[in-house]
């Protein structure tokens, strides 16, 4: 097989072998509908409830507080739309940040269209939300605060426990999009003062198309998906039993292994970051140097454009991603990188490597060998680099 160095684990992850083994029977022999009364159906029901317990355990939650969804985006939509609809008599203001995932940002924009007011908090140059700015943004009409646990692009981990504390001090519901964090950093919904939490299976070794939301007991939230009586009548739709089983197993494995795996990944991540910064001049690390996801490395290379870097990496079997506009099909580069204060051209030249369960020390060495000549080659073609060098000569 052709060499493949997969360093895009924030985009998705391979399904782990142990997870797949657990899933397969629920496609082939244990395919019953969890709502059916006969034994075949009840074995599916039991599997779903076992997975619910695995998810609850990983978050320090009660099983009755976990609801399965079709993924992180549905969980985010449910949290924002469900709470605002339930509390619209109480207030019309929500607080979120400029660096959220589009599942939060676009839902917030929709809420603005139907009459809610939204504050998008800025972040500092590392992508951190300021607790003081958050508290200053609270109004008597604020009904919901939603801040992501860790950012998908730059990996910065936010001060979630403190944000939750402030929300509760003011009697406001606190939601966090923890899609990138669950399974990679410790989460405890009680210690961290979280009322609602979104998570996704395929970021932690489970299949795509499955997620969950934690809803603290007593939290006022309306339903998003209407229909059957599944998920204690709060989320309709026949349970995706194989994927739910996979999510349960994957989250259990991730939590069991977290301590060792985080140590291992942080070493690899810092080796990659330091190696790149040392080998390639005019590069800058995006995101917080230490308060960042264990597998995230995001670096901007001046004078080059991200998509062409990705194409040359792909030629060498390396999968990565970029905040360049060219890779998103939109006009502007990453809203996250712009929120950090990067210039457009710096954002266009960003490359994200996200390490995961399968990443090895050899993989990091391979990237450190292949990347510098790629950047050098693109710079040799870049009129911006030529301008810079000529300008320097004249200076």
């Amino acid at each position: 097989m052709e060499k493949l160095i997969y360093m895009d684990n924030a985009a998705t992850t391979p399904v782990r072998a142990e997870v797949l083994d657990n899933i397969i029977p629920y496609f082939t022999t244990k395919y019953g509908n969890a709502s059916s009364v006969y034994k075949l159906g009840q074995s599916s029901k039991k599997a779903v409830e076992a997975a619910r317990e695995q998810v609850a355990n990983a978050l320090g939650a009660d099983v009755s507080e976990i609801y399965f969804t079709a993924g992180g985006s549905e969980s985010d939509n449910w949290a924002l739309r469900g709470v605002t609809e339930a509390l619209k008599e109480k207030g019309n203001h929500i607080i979120t940040t400029k660096i959220e995932h589009h599942a939060i940002l676009h839902t917030s924009q929709y809420l603005e269209q139907i009459g809610f007011e939204v504050t998008y908090l800025p972040v500092d140059k590392y992508g951190k939300v300021s607790i003081n700015e958050l508290e200053a943004a609270i109004r008597p009409t604020t009904i919901l605060i939603s801040v992501m646990t860790a950012n998908n692009e730059i990996g910065t981990v936010e001060p979630i426990a403190e944000i939750g504390e402030i929300a509760h001090k003011h009697g406001i519901i606190f939601h966090t999009d923890a899609v990138q964090a669950v399974g990679h950093v410790p989460i405890d919904v009680n210690k961290m003062n979280i009322d609602l939490l979104s998570l996704s299976g395929h970021k932690l070794g489970a299949p795509k198309g499955i997620g969950a939301i934690y809803i603290r007991k007593g939290t006022k939230i309306n339903q998003l998906i209407f229909g059957g009586a599944q998920e204690r009548k709060r989320r309709a739709g026949t349970e995706n039993v194989p994927a739910i089983v996979g999510l349960g197993k994957a989250i259990e494995l991730a939590n069991e292994e977290m301590e060792d795996e985080v140590k291992r990944l942080v070493l690899l991540r810092d080796k990659l970051i330091n190696g790149i910064m040392k080998a390639i001049p005019y590069s800058r690390l995006n995101g917080h140097p230490t308060d960042r996801l264990p597998g995230n490395c995001n670096i901007s290379f001046a004078f080059v454009e991200g998509e062409s870097v990705l194409m040359l990496l792909d030629m060498n079997g390396i999968c990565a991603s970029s905040g360049s506009a060219c890779t998103s099909g939109s006009l502007d580069p990453s809203h996250v990188l712009l929120a950090l204060g990067l210039k457009h051209e710096e954002a266009h030249g960003s490359v994200r490597f996200t390490l995961g369960y399968e990443t090895t020390d050899e993989d990091v060495d391979y990237v450190l060998e292949k990347l510098p000549p790629i950047i050098e080659r693109l710079r040799s073609m870049s009129p911006l680099y030529e301008d810079y060098i000529n300008g320097k000569d004249n200076a």
Partner: protein, 142 residues
Amino acid sequence: MEYSEKVMDHFMNPRNMGTIDNASGVGRVGNAKCGDIMQVYLQIEDDKIVDAKFKTFGCGAAIATSSMATELVKGKTIQEALKVTNKAVMEALDGLPPVKVHCSLLAEEALNAALWDYAKKNNIVIEGLKEPVEDIEEHCHI
């Protein structure tokens, strides 16, 4: 991004990459904010483009269209070069994904800007050549 084999070939093995000292005409279009800049150098002798080079900051398609555009005008007369439109560049590359069509427009504009520079330096009028638009800083192509 689904690119044709020709686009990949011109991206991986760009023709005419570099600069020409004391070029007859130099054209620069695009801007860093939008994520692509093309700079085209033309060497013109007796109304004929004897050499063409480019430097490009941009995505794979921007590099491939620069390579193809310079390749297409080499050896052509000025009037023939004016026929190297974005459509001609795209066809020569076996097409571009819809979101990348603006890269071929940029290539056409860069060629025209280089010809305009040549005309200005030599105080001549090239029939059919329009002055390059100066407001590119304001609008990104898509």
